[in-house]
């Protein structure tokens, strides 16, 4: 009976109208917007598509002075094979992952606890400390590279993962953003939890964090991107190729292997892939997060 109902619904006289609506002529303005947007987007992707296409060419076809084909004449994975045989690309990728994970996890732990502390408690020297953190918003990291370099060497962390990661952890802007978000969460929820006997850490973990999903995701993702793509700091600290991160290794070492374009573009594709994939997966989250950051 339900099946009969369904078919009868599908065959109701409304059908022609829905079809007509679906084929309603779009306005000229809408057509222009869609065409312009698509053309611009494809144009914007061309450099990446060019790299992708070249990475699957033979070295002869890819080399300079050849005609330009967007579609490889002979498909080849030679470029990728060389990278896998050499292996250093994957060492750098591992280093980048380790450093970025340390930076992201520590940033999240430190900034979330600090933001919670500033948002929910009154304690001695609170205003002085918060003022000092606000002032830190204005300190550009790059202006500190020289004393930081000195400090990291004095702590015997030069050329180590900790030396690479720890100076990237301090992010006053994240504390600020998180505190503003926590401030907007009504206190009723935590008071209910506290009546049930929950401690401060349980409140943070079970009440505040679940309500802060998008903002935490945004902070994590932007911290990770920033750390993964950091160039100057690892360039200074990691002089040994085995400790280099991907951006530094690709430029300093791989640049020295010579002009093998298929191979270089294979390295470029593999270098860009991890974050592109992460971005594709979390795209919606990232956009929501940016909206949640309240930069409007």
């Amino acid at each position: 009976m339900t099946a009969a109902q369904a078919t009868s619904v599908a065959a109701t006289p409304t059908e022609p109208r829905t079809i007509r609506r679906r084929f309603r002529r779009p306005s000229v303005g809408a057509v222009i917007v869609y065409v312009a947007a698509t053309l611009l987007a494809v144009f914007w992707l061309l450099p990446l598509l060019w790299a992708l296409s070249t990475s699957f060419k033979t070295e002869t076809e890819a080399s300079l002075g050849q005609d330009i084909h967007w579609w490889p004449e002979t498909w080849s994975v030679e470029g990728y094979k060389v990278l896998f045989e050499r292996g250093d690309h994957f060492t750098w990728m591992l280093n980048s992952t380790i450093v970025s994970v340390i930076v992201t996890v520590l940033t999240l732990v430190l900034c979330v606890t600090a933001a919670y502390g500033f948002s929910r408690f009154d304690f001695p020297a609170k205003n002085v400390l918060f003022g000092a953190i606000i002032a830190g918003l204005m300190v550009p990291g790059q202006a500190l590279i020289i004393p930081l370099f000195d400090l990291v060497n004095a702590l015997h962390m030069g050329g180590t993962y900790w030396g690479l990661a720890l100076p990237q952890v301090v992010a006053p802007v994240m504390v600020f953003i998180l505190k503003r978000f926590f401030d907007a969460i009504p206190k009723d929820y935590e008071e209910a939890a506290k009546l049930d006997g929950a401690g401060h850490f349980r409140v943070l973990w079970n009440v505040i964090l679940p309500m802060s999903g998008p903002i935490i995701a945004a902070v994590a993702i932007f911290t990770f991107i920033g750390s993964w793509n950091n160039y100057l700091w690892p360039l200074l600290v990691a002089s040994d190729p085995s400790m280099m991160t991907l951006p530094v290794g690709l430029q300093v070492v791989a640049g020295g292997y010579g002009l093998f374009y298929a191979q270089n573009m294979a390295a470029a594709v593999l270098g860009a892939a991890p974050l592109l994939i992460v971005f594709l997966i979390f795209q919606k989250r990232i956009v929501e997060g940016v909206a949640g950051v309240g930069l409007k």
Partner: protein, 314 residues
């Protein structure tokens, strides 16, 4: 006995609480939450800030020989250093060239994506994707595009008859600002996605009902853009411009990799010169003074950023 000692305390707490119930009690608990961050912050931000200032008054060297106090010598030298001024001017030039397209294109992209909702996923991906690509990959791809033979740019310029095929150009090494513009173009492609997201997020919070009245009046799309949308985006625009100025003043990575400061130091920027003075010239003291000049410049712009942030707060 324990009960007895506990009772007066509880009683006094109960007595004091009702009148001041809404006020939070000062306790040390909150300090424990903020202390780990504050410790990191003090070690890796506050301490280096003052250490750098101190170094700028010494002749400290990367070679490790003992440093001695030299007073204002480094600062005086920095203000008289032509190469430092050149680097500062180049940085300003880069900032001036890169900021307008990075703001305008971001608005254009965001407006298009906001209208072309059905392609949203693809368009967001296309415009933001370059932002997540590491700088060395970006420069690798673009330096190849800028190559004289077989490089995409020269190839198409020659096809269009805009360039002489017998005298191909290596764009990022070109004189008279070509090197600088090559990096500007690369930078716009690479980073506009972030500004675009900020605008898109702001556009999506605009209530569609604000357009209703003007639609009934038959206002054109263009009029709505100028009189409704853009004014509503004013705060975002202020924020994007300030963030962009700060980011552009800190230009180093792609310029250093692509042009190496050349030709003839035409594209040597502030942080590059600090790097040269400190890590190639071993003069930590002098490089610290140079850093502080840049620091103060960025500080001035950051004050605007701070005011934008705090206005939102209040």
């Amino acid at each position: 006995m324990t009960v007895k000692t506990a009772t007066p305390a509880a009683a006094s707490a109960a007595m004091t609480r009702p009148p001041s119930a809404p006020r939070k009690k000062k306790s040390w608990t909150g300090l424990w939450f903020v202390l780990p961050f504050v410790a990191f912050y003090a070690l890796f931000l506050i301490w280096p800030t003052f250490l750098g200032l101190y170094y700028s008054f010494t002749d400290k060297s990367l070679t490790g020989r003992p440093a001695s106090w030299v007073g204002l010598d480094n600062w005086v030298e920095a203000f008289g250093d032509e190469r430092a001024w050149n680097a500062l001017v180049n940085t300003a030039e880069f900032t001036l060239y890169s900021t307008p397209p990075l703001v305008v294109l971001a608005i254009v992209f965001a407006l298009l994506v906001n209208r072309a909702r059905k392609l949203g996923w693809f368009l967001r991906m296309a415009f933001f994707a370059p932002f997540v690509v590491p700088v060395s990959v970006v420069t690798m791809i673009w330096m190849w595009i800028y190559q004289p033979e077989g490089g995409l740019l020269n190839h198409y310029l020659q096809l269009l008859g805009l360039q002489d095929a017998s005298a191909p150009t290596v764009w990022y090494q070109g004189e008279n600002g070509m090197a600088m513009w090559s990096v500007v173009i690369t930078t716009v492609w690479w980073t506009v996605g972030f500004n675009f997201l900020l605008y898109l997020a702001a556009l999506q919070t605009i209530d569609p009902s604000v357009y209703e009245a003007s639609s009934i009046d038959g206002a054109s799309w263009w009029r709505q853009l100028w009189h409704i949308t853009l004014p509503l985006l004013n705060r975002t625009t202020a924020m994007v411009i300030v963030l962009q100025l700060i980011a552009s003043l800190r230009i180093f990575d792609q310029m250093y990799i692509m042009t190496g400061g050349g030709p003839n130091r035409e594209s040597e920027v502030a942080i590059h010169y600090i790097y040269i003075a400190g890590f190639e010239g071993y003069r930590i003291g002098y490089a610290s003074a140079l850093s502080y000049v840049l620091f103060i410049l960025i500080l001035i712009i950051s004050i605007f950023q701070f005011r934008l942030f705090s206005r939102k707060e209040s």
